[in-house]
């Protein structure tokens, strides 16, 4: 994916149900195949990707887990992130453990608006920034974040900037600014959206793009269109099929043709709205559950 893997952080978002986790897993596989030490990150303690990638090793003390020699996984859990944040990133020293045990503090971190998002994206930033040592004592070349679905994803990207402006001074403001500048540096962070060729996901992708541009001054680097059907029937075929006597085969062919036509309309709409942002399409997988072999196949499609 020309140049995509030269970033430090890929933030992948998209509407629920479009196969975002599958794409993140496939991106992780593709990057690690290129020789990059890659970590895929899930938020809110979800384990979709580790399941997809067949993780068997237990997680290390930081929660990071080796899936292969160059591919790692982390599921960010807010509570642990809070403690780590206090321990490592803020100048509170010995007071850290006291704070993290304090009920007031834990209530405050869960109650303070946007704090969870800030801590989560802060952890991701920590992994991606230069000089951070990951599992095995070596830095990661690439962090791939399975960000929350569109609306919540934008909230997470906005959190550092919002906190920087609300807090004005102090460690949180300083850190918020550092994270915000990392996220808005197109050389280091790339924002990707996953969509399917359906009306609602396409609308949401375009809406996401306009939110990113107006709210944060950022743009998408690439859009990945998942589950695109093969193009099997042209207009002439459809006319022939329509006048044929009813049969299961005819019914299936007309259904597949109409479905693929519907997808083409949506892909065209997406392309028009993206104004030149590169689009990659991934094929529809018909057979069985999504297995490792299918994932490898998708990762090869991403690897162009």
């Amino acid at each position: 994916m020309g140049g995509l893997f030269s970033h430090s952080l890929l933030v992948v978002t998209g509407k629920g149900g479009v196969g975002k986790s599958t794409v993140v897993a496939a991106l992780g596989l593709a990057a690690s195949r290129e020789g990059l030490r890659t970590i895929v990150v899930e938020v809110a303690a979800r384990e979709d990707i580790s399941r997809l990638l067949g993780a068997s090793e237990p997680a290390g003390p930081q929660g990071e887990r080796a899936l292969s020699s160059r591919l790692f996984h982390l599921s960010i859990e807010p509570q642990r992130t809070t403690e780590e944040y206090l321990r490592q990133q803020l100048p509170v020293g010995a007071l850290g453990p006291l704070l993290s045990r304090s009920r007031i503090f834990s209530a405050l971190t869960t109650a303070t608006p946007g704090m969870r998002e800030l801590l989560t994206i802060g952890k991701v930033w920590e992994l991606a920034r230069h000089g951070h040592l990951g599992e095995g004592g070596e830095p990661y070349d690439l962090v791939v974040l399975d960000a929350p679905a569109t609306g919540h994803g934008v909230a997470m990207l906005e959190a550092p900037r919002t906190f920087a402006s609300v807090a004005r001074v102090g460690p949180i403001a300083k850190q918020g600014r550092a994270i915000a500048s990392f996220l808005s540096d197109p050389g280091r962070t790339a924002l990707l959206a996953v969509s399917t060729a359906e009306e609602m996901p396409v609308s949401e992708t375009l809406q996401l793009r306009s939110q990113l541009r107006s709210g944060l001054g950022l743009d998408l680097e690439r859009v990945i269109v998942n589950a695109v059907l093969p193009y099997r029937f042209d207009g002439r075929d459809e006319r022939t099929l329509r006048v044929a006597p009813p049969s299961r085969a005819r019914h299936a062919a007309l259904f597949a043709a109409a479905w693929a036509d519907q997808q083409r309309v949506q892909i065209a709409r997406l392309r028009a709205g993206l104004e030149g942002i590169p689009m990659v399409t991934l094929p529809f997988i018909f057979q069985g559950a999504l297995e490792r072999a299918a994932l490898e196949r998708l990762s090869l499609e991403l690897d162009v």
Binding site: K15, G16, G17, D48, L86, V92, L95, G96, L98, L99, R103, I104, F105, A107, L108, T110, A111, P113, R116, A149, G151, T162, F163, S165, V166, A167, R168, V169, G170, P171, I172, T196, M200, P201, S203, E204, Q207, R232, F233, D237, L241, A244, S247, R248, A249, R250, A252, A253, F255, A256, A257, A258, W259, D261, Q262, V265, F286, Q287, G288, A289
Partner: protein, 381 residues
């Protein structure tokens, strides 16, 4: 089961499920079906990215219900004997309205609305989005303007927050942290308080003085509307478990939405919430006797085009593979959830347009069991 049976005696229906399973369409079609049958219905979406407006032929939806033009359906031969209204929740505005309603005096109201934390972040308070949604639902229900209200929720993990929102917000408002932070002289008093000193000085170093002061002011002014909120959340909690409320769990037969649906149904039962039924959308249906197909017969049907016949058969094989996968998902779902049969809606394709598409779904939702079997057989591969 039919949606008509499901909604008998119900005033509120909350549609929940994973993302991308057609929840919005289901909610809209359910509301439409009720309006066709003479009810005055409001459909409310909470998902900011929802496509409800366009599927109802409205340009945009606001925080107050707008009536959907009956001509839209009349043009397709469907008369609305009742009325159909639609709205999209604006969490910030609803929160502001609540503050207006609950603030003891004008000064407090202005102080809350002007607080920077409130302005920038109030809708990000854990559960506040969901809480405002239920609060709006409560208000619509209490207004007596509608016979039925259908709610389209965000994807199910958030829908769980939806269930807990009133309690969580209450727990937060009545919690020790808020009481300490909201003490009359705010942080200063908290720092002076025994036991709190060390924690607060560490806190101040973490957050910076400004943020802590703003937070303290935020929590303090919020506490002035506390009793109003507590009353609200209790009433809203009662509405969710009211016998006239029902939860409709919407899913597709794909593996991961099925798991979410199972999880959600269990949670509903555990929390004593009224589970009404299950809708499985986007189903590919396997024919009752999906035998081998004679390629030469298909070729003959297609005027001797052997290549087109081969491609058609490949499409049939692919769709049958999907139908088998869907059947497995459906078995898992019905095996896990004893009781009522789910309402099945096949995947519908074609350039029928949104309104016609909505009417198609409505037909499946409100069909009787026998009608639905016939309809499904027509769609089988």
């Amino acid at each position: 089961m039919s949606a008509a049976t499901l909604m008998a005696g119900k005033r509120v229906c909350i549609c929940a499920g994973a993302g991308g399973v057609g929840k919005t369409t289901t909610a809209a079609a359910l509301a439409l079906g009720l309006a066709v049958r003479g009810k005055r219905v409001a459909v409310m979406t909470i998902d900011p990215a929802s496509g409800l407006a366009s599927s109802l032929g409205l340009v945009r939806l606001g925080n107050e219900p707008a009536q959907v033009q009956p001509d839209l359906f009349a043009a397709r031969g469907v008369a609305l004997r009742g009325e159909l209204w639609a709205m999209k929740l604006d969490a910030k505005r609803t929160f502001d309205e609540l503050i207006h309603l609950l603030a003891p005096d004008e000064n407090t109201r202005e102080e809350i609305l002007a607080n920077r934390i409130y302005k920038e972040l109030s809708t990000a308070v854990a559960g506040s989005q969901e809480f405002t949604a239920v609060a709006k639902l409560y208000e619509l229900n209490a207004s007596g303007r509608f016979d039925a209200i259908v709610v389209d929720t965000p994807p199910s993990r958030n829908a769980l927050d939806f269930l807990d929102a009133p309690q969580r917000l209450n727990a937060f408002l009545e919690g020790r942290a808020l009481r300490v932070l909201a003490a009359p002289s705010g942080v200063a008093a908290a720092i002076a308080a025994r036991g709190g000193g060390l924690v607060f000085s560490a806190l101040r170093r973490v957050t910076g003085v400004d943020l802590l002061t703003d937070l303290s002011a935020f929590f303090r002014v919020l506490s002035s509307v506390l009793s109003g909120f507590t009353e609200r959340t209790t009433a809203v909690g009662r509405l969710l478990s009211d016998p006239a409320t029902t939860f409709l769990v919407v899913t597709s037969p794909e593996p991961s939405p099925v798991e979410e649906a199972i999880f959600f149904c269990r949670r509903l039962r555990e929390s004593g919430m009224p589970f009404g039924g299950l809708v499985v959308n986007r189903l590919r249906v396997l024919a009752r006797h999906p035998g081998a197909i004679d390629q030469s017969a298909v070729t003959a049907d297609l005027g001797g085009d052997g290549d087109l016949a081969a491609r058609s058969l490949r499409a049939l094989r692919d769709l049958r593979a999907l139908a088998r996968r869907d059947a497995a998902g459906l078995r898992r779902l019905t095996g896990e959830l004893e009781g009522g049969q789910p309402i099945l809606v096949p995947q519908l394709v074609g350039d029928a347009g949104e309104v016609t598409g909505l009417l198609d779904v409505e037909r499946f939702l409100f069909a009787t069991g026998r009608e639905r079997s016939t309809l499904l057989a027509e769609h089988a591969f």
